[in-house]
Amino acid sequence: MYRTARRASGGAALLLAATLVLAACGPQSQGGDDSTEESTSEGESESGDLMIVPSVQIDIDGAEVPAAEAGEPVDPAGDGSAECAEGTAIAVAGAFTGPNAALGLNIQYGAQLAVDAFNEANAGCQVELKPFDTEGDPQKATQVAPQIVSDDAVIGLLGPAFSGETAATGDVFNQAGLLSLTASATNPDLTGNGWTNFFRGLANDAVQGPSVAKYMTETLGYTSVCVVADNSDYGIGLAEQITSGLGDAANADCAPEVKTGDKDFSAAVQIISGSEADAVFYSGYYAEAAPFVQGLRDGGVDLPFVSADGVNDPQFVSQAGSSSQGAILSCPCGPAPEDFAATYEDANGQAPGVYSTEGYDLATIMLTGIASGVSDRAGLIDYVKDYSGEGLARQYEWDDTGELTSALIWIYEVE
């Protein structure tokens, strides 16, 4: 008996391991045929064809702004004559591990492209990009921040990535006089702290929210919108801005809350399907938005689906499939130009995600500063303060508080 028991359980364990490992090898050979031959779903277009396509640029009133006629974006490579001290470095801080790692990595990869291009062109100035992982956790960030500050080689910081950790560590960088150039922290309050070192490389939620809200009511003509918010800092903040921007068009009876990490949205779908709304705005991230929009469509709700930068990620389309078709996604981030996207994909094995272009642009700004002869922290802050130039995503120029002077929002559509 004893021996059979052992054999049985040993066998079971083996089976477990075998199934899991085999499964990983299986689809590479079979998956291809399968999707082409057999996966015809609902007679709609296949998800493989769907893409997030930039459509228009809007201002704070929701009005369309003609595409920027501005010239060439600044090239991080410069003229190849930059000289700087050996060991000059810029830091990038954000979540590179943990559940929020995707956003941090997008920024890091974007910035790395700029740094690589710079280093390749400028033999006399090799800049290192030093990543500091905060896991997106404010307490962790308070331990990492002193580390960044005390690293004398670091003359500028790209980050922190999230609003929470930025709030927790802002004082550290401000007192150290270290440039803090964020590519993704969009909480409007951050620039109200009187920090002189903090600049935001994109529109904050106070711009995105009203812009998109006005775009929905004025341009798209919705009269009753269900605003669905997740419980993240970003989701709540944006939902507040959207709701107040929508005014009467925000459907007060239809504002279900969901949680990051939720997988099942039947209750929210039920609330929406029972309402008289004519559109749904989702304030949160793609990980929840994809199953959410799927749940909507499965539940027979065909209302237009609008969301913002947290959802504006290729993953959203690939996970939601045909349910994502027609979704309208805003983003303070600009579209990645095709050649940038190609280089990025070559280097990182994945398409640029949200904030990749910001990471690239902001790193480029710091690199041009270094190329122009800036060699210390104070100098870089001054350089950024007075900077004005074109990036991949937009025109960069900051006001006294550290916000962009002209912050426009891009509208994308899944088609």
């Binding site: 992982d133 002193p146 927790a168």
Partner: protein, 431 residues
């Protein structure tokens, strides 16, 4: 001859229950304990105080391998201080009274949120600022006792219905409680800021200079050897010492004996006149208030609270510190807390270890896997932890222990013949 002698002929039954194999094995901890116990009180102070000073100086000494690379060492030590405090509190509940509390993070959260709700400008009940009751300078210190009191009350509220449950049920119910606290923090967004958290929590304004306009405890005090992390570490050291004194007083009293009796055999304890429910409740309340104090420290240091920091995974991490170090042993659980906090940070950002190239970040990210394995392996092979508990449960009577030690030493001197005697007893050993 005493008159008691006839009643008590000292006949030992042959079955000597020495039970060597299931007795907690000694090792370094025991040796240290023997040495320590033998010292006189003043000598203990003479040894203890410099050791404490050394511990306080650790973040300043910049010890080569010890100092972390990827994160600020002062910050790591500050976190260690808080987790150590938590471990001491959880140890009262788990180690001493034997109540498995998987929702301990809930008390930590309540402590942190109490301070934040009272002092954060984002909170509707903010008591700081113009025309309010608390000045920014003293707000943290004033909120601290409130936090401790409120967590103590919440321990009472949670404990009074649930402590009548059996041990394993209690574990699950407390787990549920921990989750409920986090979900409340998440859902009551009018009060707690929900997922946005509460910013700008007050901290002690001390050591304000021109360079440091917001004092040494501010997160802004980041450069130099004595940064805010070090200051918070020192504050937690003070908390730890005070807590250890109080918990030690309790341990060497009726209360500590009641706890251990409950842990050993609850029914027997009750029949021996121990009001078990009352003392379990006390254990819960005391554990909770220590957790609350740690939460208040956290809120002050990070100056920002958000529900995700109070995940259930932290409860298990705390438990890991207690189990790893040695349930019931106060110094052991502090060591456990150090391991739990320090080891992942040690690897973070480290590319080489003793010349061998390693991917420290990768290793650090496996921490929960390693801690999980450590829990399982410890439970199977060494359930008593690294430093097993030998609690002293009596306020007086040290002379008895010293006498026993002396006579043991005398007996050890009689080396010849003892093996023979041992053989005869061990041969008759009962199971």
């Amino acid at each position: 001859m005493s008159t008691t002698t006839p009643a008590t002929p000292p006949s030992l039954p042959p079955a000597g229950r020495t039970a060597t194999k299931d007795r907690p094995h000694g090792g370094v901890g025991d040796r240290f304990r023997l040495w320590w116990d033998a010292l006189a009180r003043p000598t203990q102070w003479l040894v203890g105080v410099p050791f404490l000073l050394f511990m306080a100086a650790v973040p300043l000494l910049n010890i080569p391998v010890l100092t972390t690379q990827g994160t600020d060492f002062g910050g790591v030590m500050a976190q260690f201080g808080m987790i150590a405090l938590i471990a001491i509190g959880l140890n009262v509940v788990v180690g001493q009274a034997g109540l498995l509390d998987l929702g301990y993070v809930g008390f930590y959260a309540i402590g942190a949120y109490t301070v934040a709700i009272l002092t954060s400008p984002d909170s509707p009940w903010n008591q700081t600022g113009d025309g309010m009751w608390l000045s920014r300078e003293w707000a943290w210190l004033a909120a601290l006792p409130v936090a401790v009191a409120i967590t103590a009350i919440s321990g009472l509220i949670l404990g009074s219905p649930t402590l009548r449950l059996r041990g394993d049920y209690l574990a699950i119910v407390t787990l549920g409680f921990g989750e409920i606290v986090r979900l409340l923090a998440d859902n009551l967004d009018e009060l707690t800021g929900g997922g946005q958290g509460l910013r700008g929590v007050a901290y002690p304004r001390a050591g304000v200079t021109e360079d440091l306009p917001s004092g040494v405890f501010s997160a802004g005090n980041a450069s130099g050897a004595v940064n805010s992390g070090v200051w918070w570490y020192w504050v937690s050291l003070v908390f730890i010492v005070v807590t250890l004194l109080f918990v030690g007083n309790l341990e060497r009293s009726r209360v500590g004996r009641a706890w251990v009796a409950i842990r050993e055999d609850e029914d027997a304890a009750e029949i021996m006149g121990v009001p078990t429910f009352r003392f379990k409740l006390w254990a819960f309340i005391i554990g909770a208030s220590i957790g609350g104090a740690a939460g208040a420290l956290y809120a002050g240091q990070v100056q920002f609270v958000i529900p995700t920091n109070f995940n259930i995974i932290n409860s298990v991490l705390f438990l890991c510190a207690v189990v790893l170090g040695g349930q019931g042993n106060k110094l052991g659980v502090i060591l456990g807390a150090f391991i739990v906090v320090y080891v992942p940070n040690f690897f973070l950002g480290r590319q080489t270890l003793f010349g061998i190239p390693i991917d420290g970040d990768e290793i650090a990210s496996y921490k929960y896997l390693f801690f999980g394995i450590a829990l399982v392996v410890l439970m199977i092979f060494r359930p008593q932890g690294i430093i097993p508990a030998r609690q002293k449960l009596l306020t007086y009577g040290r002379e008895l222990y010293v006498a026993a030690r002396r006579s043991a030493a005398r007996a050890a001197g009689r080396a010849p013949g003892r093996t023979e005697a041992a053989a005869t007893t061990s041969g008759k050993e009962s199971s």
